[in-house]
Amino acid sequence: MDKRVRFKGWLLPILLIAPQVLISAVFFFYPAGQAIWQSLFIPDPFGLSARFVGLGNFEFLLSDPFYRASFLTTAIFSILVTLCSMVPALFLAAVADRLIKGSGVYRTLLIWPYAVAPAVAGVLWLFMFNTRVGVVSWYLGQLGYDWNHVLNGGEAMGLVVVASAWGRISYNFLFFFAALQAVPRSVIEAAAIDGARFWKRFFTIVLPLLSPTTFFLLVVNVVYAFFETFGVIHTITAGGPQQSTTILVYKVFSDGFVGQDLGSSSAQSVILLIVVGLLTVFQFKFIEKRVHY
């Protein structure tokens, strides 16, 4: 789609677009190019020179059990975060949708956690489950369960999942609630006259109508779990114990900055770049479809 009416001249538009193009070039294209370039080299231990290894870094990565484990960890983590944030959100939205009055108040209260930064959410949950002072871990102890996410990988994973999913409940709630409000009343009334009860109506009629929203949220939440949960993991577990919560983005950071392994870190960036690309294409394909829907 284009405008019929246009202004003349070419210098002015180039000046107008220049700031964005310059910033993108310097802080985006150059670093991304560097990542691709560096992924083909192994620097010597003193960082003075680098040896060209072609796809060697990639071969090494893909055969590295730690990297493969990190892929699996990321998959498990994103599936769990997506489920734990979407199911409660859908449930609350479905219940709030039954109210004629007052649903706005609940919406206002429920969007709070969205404003809380992932890193701050991490601190809040760490506080509740802290092995020394945490309230929840203390009560678990009273019940005879010895909570220790510092040593137990499964518990660590559970904690970062819950802390990451928490703020997303707000986000998903907003989208589900808006979608539910848009479901035509007449459809639901027809089902109600036919004698379908609430949850039956919900699963057979409402949920299928929500599928565009659900699908959209699935993609967005997976992207969130992949890339925006760094703060949660860094504050709660720092990837541990024994790398059990080291997701891919965290590994780029820990190998690149903590381990100073630039070649490997860059190769990981490139792999992530491909993953983002695929997810984006997927998302756009879907959005296109939804326009026709």
């Binding site: 405008k3 009416v5 246009r6 202004f7 070419w10 002015l12 538009p13 180039i14 107008l16 677009i17 700031p19 910033i23 993108s24 310097v26 802080f27 150059y30 670093p31 991304a32 560097q34 990542a35 560096q38 409660p88 709030a96 039954r98 109210l99 609940y106 429920l110 969007i111 709070w112 969205y114 930064a117 992932p118 890193a119 701050v120 506080f127 509740m128 020394r132 002072v133 309230v135 986000y171 907003l174 808006a178 009343r185 639901i188 109600a192 006259i193 959209f216 967005v220 890339f227 760094f230 860094h234 504050t235 780029v252 950071f253 690149g256 900055f257 960036s269 770049l273 983002v276 984006t280």
Partner: protein, 285 residues
Amino acid sequence: MAREVHGMIEKRGAGLWLTHLVMVTGVLIVFFPIWLAFVASTVTQPEIVSPPMPIWPGDQFWENYSRALFAGVNVPVGTMLINSLIMAIGIAVGKIIISLLSAFAIVYFRFPGRNMFFWMIFLTLMLPVEVRIVPTFEVVAGFGLLNSYSGLILPLIASATATFLFRQFFLTIPDELAEAARVDGARPMRFFIDIVVPMSRTNIAALFVILFIFGWNQYLWPLLITTDPEMNTIVMGIKQMFPSGDDVAEWPVIMATSILAMIPPVIIVVGMQRLFIRGLVDSEK
């Protein structure tokens, strides 16, 4: 009949109370972590380190908050708050300005390289800063921008969401307006300032809300480039308040800081709820 059907869909009587009960329980569970943080920020350290901690606020509110704000652990939280504010506003305003300008150029002009620039900007949609951190860090370090506001802000402005949003919106502005401006002999920038920008003000406001929160909640980037505690932002600074060894963390101060870190974005999200939801829906689609 209509009323009965209504009754079947929207709950009344006992069912209504049950529905409210479910919602209140949900809200309480979702709120619990924030409540606990608030309580912890109003009690003394000994009350916290001998669990279980109290469940109602204590009387140490002023002590803990003033200690956090004016003393902090490494640096006063007040300083971190100002840094965060500058960073968040810088990112929001910077992104809005460069996106308004480039979207205006793309929609209202034909010029050499237009398509190439368009695709260049489009590509930046795809790559979050987390993915290209090492080389971006090197670029920023090369410019000597470590521990500076420009270093905090500029790399996070390089993204195209806002440009696309404004492009979409500009395409809906009636052609007659541009035509009239042209006939009147108005220069393009007059048209931009007098017509386009005022017409976009709702979009600008909605985007500001989203971008402010995006900027405020940044963690990894400030963590990398602010080695000087004076430049820490509050969201990344909280983690720095934990002692590295076996010492016990100063929980009341840390929790007061956590509460302070969430107040500005919460005020914006709750206070500008309509704009926020609109911005959210716009920027995701």
